[in-house]
């Protein structure tokens, strides 16, 4: 059992967390100007990096989303940060 650090609750079991998305995606707008390809890219396409990855996770028990930086090969977590506007 790995423990992930929630910025709000501290270290908790990995089973309390859920992967949401790769960080850094920006919703293309305004909607009428967004092409199908641009929308599909936003909605579906990923980098799936091997090594360092910035990802949005949710801590299911407190409900907070946050950014976790970790190594996808070794599974070591190097940083967690609350989303902009949220204070732990």
């Amino acid at each position: 059992m790995q423990r992930f650090p929630c910025p709000f609750c501290g270290p908790r079991d990995e089973t309390e967390f859920h992967f949401a998305a790769e960080a850094g995606k920006h919703r293309p707008e305004p909607a009428p100007d967004v092409t199908d390809a641009a929308w599909a890219d936003y909605l579906y396409m990923n980098d799936a990096p091997k090594g360092t990855a910035r990802e949005v996770w949710v801590h299911l028990t407190c409900g907070e989303f946050f950014v976790m930086t970790r190594d996808t090969a070794t599974r070591a977590v190097t940083d967690v940060a609350a989303l902009p506007g949220r204070t732990p």
Binding site: M1, Q2, D13, D41, Y44, N46, A48, K50, T72
Partner: protein, 416 residues
């Protein structure tokens, strides 16, 4: 290529087994090929074989960064089936199953295909209705599928937990008699041997580090063994495919996860079919050696590490013991994981991506082994003809921009 036969085996037995030759040639890569396939698993090797056999292309190389069959081809639970819901999926997976049924003869290599049937077991009237829907869909799509009642299911799997304390009693389920298992390593070795005999170069320990592109078209690859020129490049590298596609500026709708598998110590025959429990998500079969081979859902942490995590092990093993309390006496022999490329609609991606001349065969997620012959057949068609085969067209990457998903996770209730 020395032909394998009972006579050859008897002759070698009398001569001390000194006459066997390596099954495929060990080669250094040439400077140029008509087509290069990245990934020496089942899909890549099958692609090379069908390029040579179906399309007459002999200047073909398979580049594998490790050893052939060392990735997901050697890490799966060896189940072969075509019990899917949508017509596009059934056409794809049943092409694979039909090719598998004749593969030992065609490749002159015993892949130990055992069509012992597969039961997807249901536990509630609602699940039985879903199973009836899947069985009907399979029959409409021309594939053997039938609804099996509880009595027949328990005749097939008498050890199932049906006691008063059973959390998931078996009410029956979907049965596919042509489903079964095959020796996974043998599939890779058989395709490698047959492809090599047709002139294909299989290069192990050769990692692709870059893709050369000129004027919007592929011109070659950079590798740890030097540059190789080619204008037709196929990627069949499962979890490593996103990084390879990125070398050509292409993105894919893939997340990589670990999928675990387990075997118990060997025991006398106790289970002569493949079983998937909808209630627990655990599936199991018994190998010819007597080991129980089982697995379940994905690890929920995206990863490129080929090892599993403990919470999912607990879920899968608990599920097995709920299904078969008697198995609680067994020791676990091995546990391992492969990195699988998971797509939002749980269907593969077959077709062109990025620059001209680049094609992918990826996104099989947790179910690539059963599809090896079809994946190879269709990627070979794409590379040789430069256009889709009728069966691969629905699986083009464009389905994501067009909203034309083939959602088998919803359709057939597969466990991912």
């Amino acid at each position: 290529m020395t032909r394998y036969s009972a006579i050859a085996l008897a002759r070698e037995g009398l001569l001390g087994h000194r006459g066997w030759r390596a099954a495929w040639r060990r080669v250094r890569p040439a400077a140029a090929y008509d087509a290069v396939v990245v990934g020496g698993g089942g899909h890549g090797l099958a692609t090379a074989y069908y390029l040579a056999k179906n399309h007459g292309m002999r200047r073909v190389a398979v580049l594998e960064r490790g050893w052939i069959g060392g990735g997901n081809t050697g890490r799966n639970t060896t189940v072969i089936r075509s019990n899917y819901f949508y017509p596009e999926s059934v056409a794809l997976y049943d092409l694979a199953l039909r090719l598998y049924e004749d593969l030992s003869r065609e490749l002159n290599y015993n892949i130990m295909l055992s069509q012992r049937g597969m039961l997807i077991a249901a536990h509630t009237p609602a699940q039985m209705e879903i199973c009836a829907r899947i069985a009907n869909a399979m029959q409409l799509n021309g594939v053997d599928g039938e609804l099996m009642d509880a009595r027949r299911a328990l005749e097939r799997v008498p050890l199932l937990n049906q006691g008063s304390d059973a959390r998931y009693r078996c009410l029956g389920g979907v049965w596919q008699g042509r489903a079964g298992v095959a020796r996974h390593d043998a599939v890779a070795w058989a395709y490698a041997r047959a492809a090599s005999a047709l002139g294909v170069d299989i290069v192990e320990n050769c990692e692709v580090t870059g893709i050369a592109i000129e004027g919007g078209a592929v011109t070659g690859v950079e590798t740890t063994l030097g540059p190789i020129r080619t204008e037709r490049l196929g990627l069949a590298a499962a979890g490593a495919t996103p990084a390879l596609a990125a070398m050509a500026g292409a993105r894919l709708p893939i997340h990589d996860y670990a999928l675990q598998a387990f075997v118990s110590e060997p025991v006398k025959p106790v289970l002569d079919t493949v079983l998937l429990y909808l209630g627990t998500g655990t599936y199991v079969s018994q190998s010819d050696k007597g080991e129980l081979v089982f697995g379940g859902g994905l690890d929920r942490v995206p990863t490129h590490g080929q090892r599993g995590n403990l919470p999912v092990q607990e879920t899968v093993i608990s599920g097995l013991l709920e299904m078969f309390p008697a198995f609680g006496q067994l020791k676990l022999l091995r546990q391992w994981a492969g990195v699988v490329d998971v797509v939002p609609d749980s269907s593969p991606i077959l077709g062109p991506v990025g620059p001209e001349g680049l094609y992918v065969n990826c996104g099989w997620g947790t179910g690539g082994f059963k599809a090896i012959p079809a994946g190879g057949w269709l990627l070979a068609h794409l590379l040789a003809e430069g256009r889709h085969h009728e069966i691969s067209r629905p699986f083009d990457l464009s389905r994501f921009a067009e909203g034309r998903l083939i959602d088998e996770a919803a359709g057939s209730g597969i466990a991912h």
